[in-house]
Symmetry: C2
Subunit: 349 residues, 2 copies
C-alpha cells in the first residue's frame, strides 16, 4: 500500500522546511538586522472593518480554538471547511437579486430579436418598466425570463455574456459596478479563515454559472469552490468541436433544504463554519452546526438603511424570520451590520 | 476593490519565504554540512513503475512543458487540472466492477431481513450464485439491486457500510483487500502531477459516495475532488437532528457524455489532462483535449492477462473500441499495460 498521500507528504516537507528556516533564522540573526526579518511577525488586526465587540471576538475566539494544536477544539486543516451564502451575505441583494438585474438587462438587450415579447408576459411588462406587472406573472413568469436569458447557448458563450455584463452594468443606487457592492467585512472574514487553513466555499441559491466567472476576482474563491443552482447542460458536437449547451430545464435548486444536499454532493464532508443571512440558509446552518466537533454559525442581519438596507421578517427578498428566532437557542452569531461593521463597502469613507 | 486574492497573497509570501530561506541557506553553509541540506535536491525517477519508453517520455515531456515558466506551453498552476476515470483506470474492474461486488455482498448480508428476495429477481439468482440469472434481469434488475443496497439509509450510515466493506472484503482473484487492487503506475502518476502543481480529480461512472470514503487513503484525492454518479439525497430531521437520506432514485449518471457535464458542474473549468480506459471516457477525452491550450489525453489499454486482464473491443466491462480507433488521430497516448508498466500492483514482485 502506498498509504501516504502526497498532500501529507507536502505538508511534512513544508514543516521540515519551516523548521529548517527557523533554525537558519537563528544563525542568520548574527549577520542581518533582526528588525527587517521580524517585521512580518508583527501582530495585525485581520478584521479591520469589524468594530471591536462580541461579534468579532466570537469569530476570533473560534478560529483560535480550532487552530490551536494540542487544544481540545483543534480541527485538522483538511476538515476546516467554511461555507458562505452569497446574496445578502457576501454581496448586497437589494433592490433585487443581482442575477435578476442581469436577467432584466438581458431581456432588454435581446428584445429586438424577440418582437413577440411585446405581447408576452413577463417580458411585455419588463420592457415597459412595469415591475408590478413582472411580479404579477409569478414564479412561472420568473422561470420563463430566466430560461429565455440563461439557456439556449453554450457554457462558454454564457460565461462571456456574464463577464461582459459585470464589466459594464452598474448598481442603481451606488452607480458602481456590481462587483464593488460586496461586503468588505465578509471579504476580510474569508481572507482571515483562509489564512488560518480554511477552505472557503460559496453555497448559494444563485446560478452556479452566473457566479463562477466572478468569484475568484471578487472573493478569492475559485470556480470549483462555488456551489449553486443550475440548469441542465448537455454535451454536443458543433461540427467536430465538443460543446456544452445550456438547456431550458432546472437541474438543481441550491436553496433551503437543497443547501445541505448541495454541500454533500459537491464537498462530501460536513463544513465546520457556515454564514448566511436568510431563512434560505436555515437548513445549511442546522446541518453545519449539528456536526459533532467544533462548529460556528453566523447570520448577517441587515440593520443599516443608511449605508445598505434594513430588512428581515417582512422582506420578500432575503426574508429572515425562523433562523433569527432560533439563533440564540442554537448559538448562531447574529451580526448586526449597523453596529458590528465599521465599513460595509470598500468605497465607504 | 480588494482584487488580490489570498491564494495569490499566500503564494507571494511563500516565494518571499523561499527567497529568505535561500538566502539564509547561503549563510548557513558556513555552519552546517551542506551534504545534509542538499540531499533533498537529488534528482529521482518519479515514475519508477513505468518502463522507460515512449509512454513515460510523453508524460514527462508534457509535464515539463506546462510547468516551464516562460516557455510557450506554460500553464498557470491554477489551471493545471487533471481528471482520472476510476474503474479500469486507477483500479481493476474485473471480474466485475468493485461496486457490483459490494452490491452483491450487501444483498447476501441483507437477505435474512428480506425473505421475499427468494422469489424476486435478480436477488433470487444472486443468492443462488447464478450470475447468468442476474445478468438476464438486465438493466432494470441491476438498478433494483443498486437501489436495494445503496438507498434507504442516511449518508452517514452508508459511509460506514462502505468503509466496513473495504476493511473486510477481498478481491476473488488476488485474495487481498480491494483497496490494494489499484494500479501503482497510476498512483505514481497522480503523485507526480500533484508534485508539479496539478489538482487531481476522479471523474467516474461509479457512485460518488461509494468512492469518497476511500479515495483520500488510496489515491491522495480528497472527497471534494471526486465526481461520480449519484442517487437523490434529501434533507430531513430525525427527531431534532438534521440528516441526509439516500432515496431510491437516480440523480446523475457520470458516464459517457455525462462526464464533461460532471466536470463542468463540479469543477467549472476545463481540465488539461484526462485519463481513461474505455469508451465511457470518450466524451471526457474529447472535451479535455479540445481545449485551446496544451492538453493531454491518456488511455490505459488492458493488455496483460497474466498480471491483470486483457480486454478491449469485445468486453462488456470497460469496452474500448471507438476511443481506441481515434486515439492516434487525436493524439491520445495509448498505454500498453503489459509493456509500459514494470509493476501493476504494489504487491507485484
Amino acid at each position: 500500500m502506498h498509504s501516504r498521500s502526497i498532500p501529507d507528504e507536502e505538508k511534512r516537507r513544508e514543516r521540515s522546511r519551516s523548521r529548517l528556516a527557523g533554525f537558519l533564522l537563528l544563525l542568520a540573526t548574527a549577520f542581518v538586522s533582526s528588525t527587517v526579518l521580524l517585521a512580518a511577525d508583527a501582530p495585525a488586526d485581520q478584521l479591520p472593518s469589524w468594530n471591536d465587540g462580541e461579534a468579532k471576538s466570537a469569530i476570533v475566539d473560534f478560529v483560535t480554538r480550532v487552530t490551536s494544536e494540542g487544544g481540545a477544539d483543534f480541527v485538522a486543516e483538511v476538515d476546516r471547511i467554511a461555507v458562505f451564502d452569497n446574496d445578502g451575505t457576501l454581496w448586497t441583494e437589494q433592490p433585487a437579486y443581482f442575477q435578476a438585474m442581469f436577467a432584466a438587462d438581458r431581456v432588454k438587450a435581446m428584445a429586438p430579436e424577440h418582437p413577440e415579447w411585446k405581447d408576452k408576459e413577463p417580458f411585455a411588462s419588463l420592457l415597459k418598466g412595469d415591475m408590478a406587472g413582472v411580479a404579477a406573472s409569478g414564479e412561472k413568469g420568473i422561470v420563463d425570463m430566466v430560461m429565455a436569458t440563461h439557456a439556449g447557448m453554450t457554457t462558454d458563450a454564457f460565461t462571456k455574456i456574464v463577464t461582459d455584463w459585470f464589466a459594464t452594468a452598474k448598481h442603481p443606487r451606488f452607480n458602481r459596478p456590481y462587483n464593488e457592492i460586496t461586503f468588505l467585512p465578509m471579504r476580510e472574514l474569508l481572507d482571515y479563515l483562509r489564512e488560518n487553513g480554511f477552505k472557503t466555499y460559496i453555497v448559494s441559491g444563485g446560478g452556479i454559472e452566473f457566479m463562477r466567472p466572478m468569484t475568484e476576482q471578487m472573493y478569492g474563491i475559485p470556480p470549483e469552490q462555488v456551489v449553486g443552482s443550475s440548469i441542465v447542460t448537455k454535451y454536443a458536437l458543433e461540427g467536430d468541436t465538443p460543446v456544452l449547451t445550456r438547456e431550458p430545464k432546472i437541474d438543481f435548486i441550491d436553496d433551503g433544504p437543497g443547501k445541505p444536499v448541495g454541500i454533500n454532493t459537491f464537498i462530501g464532508r460536513r463544513p465546520i463554519f457556515a454564514a448566511g443571512n436568510s431563512d434560505g440558509d436555515y437548513e445549511m446552518l442546522r446541518w453545519v452546526t449539528a456536526g459533532s466537533g467544533p462548529h460556528f454559525g453566523l447570520i448577517v442581519h441587515h440593520t443599516d438603511a443608511d449605508r445598505e438596507w434594513a430588512y428581515d421578517r417582512q422582506s420578500h427578498v432575503g426574508k429572515l424570520d425562523k433562523a433569527m428566532n432560533e439563533a440564540e437557542q442554537r448559538n448562531w452569531l447574529l451580526v448586526d451590520m449597523k453596529n458590528d461593521w465599521r465599513k460595509i463597502y470598500a468605497f465607504d469613507k
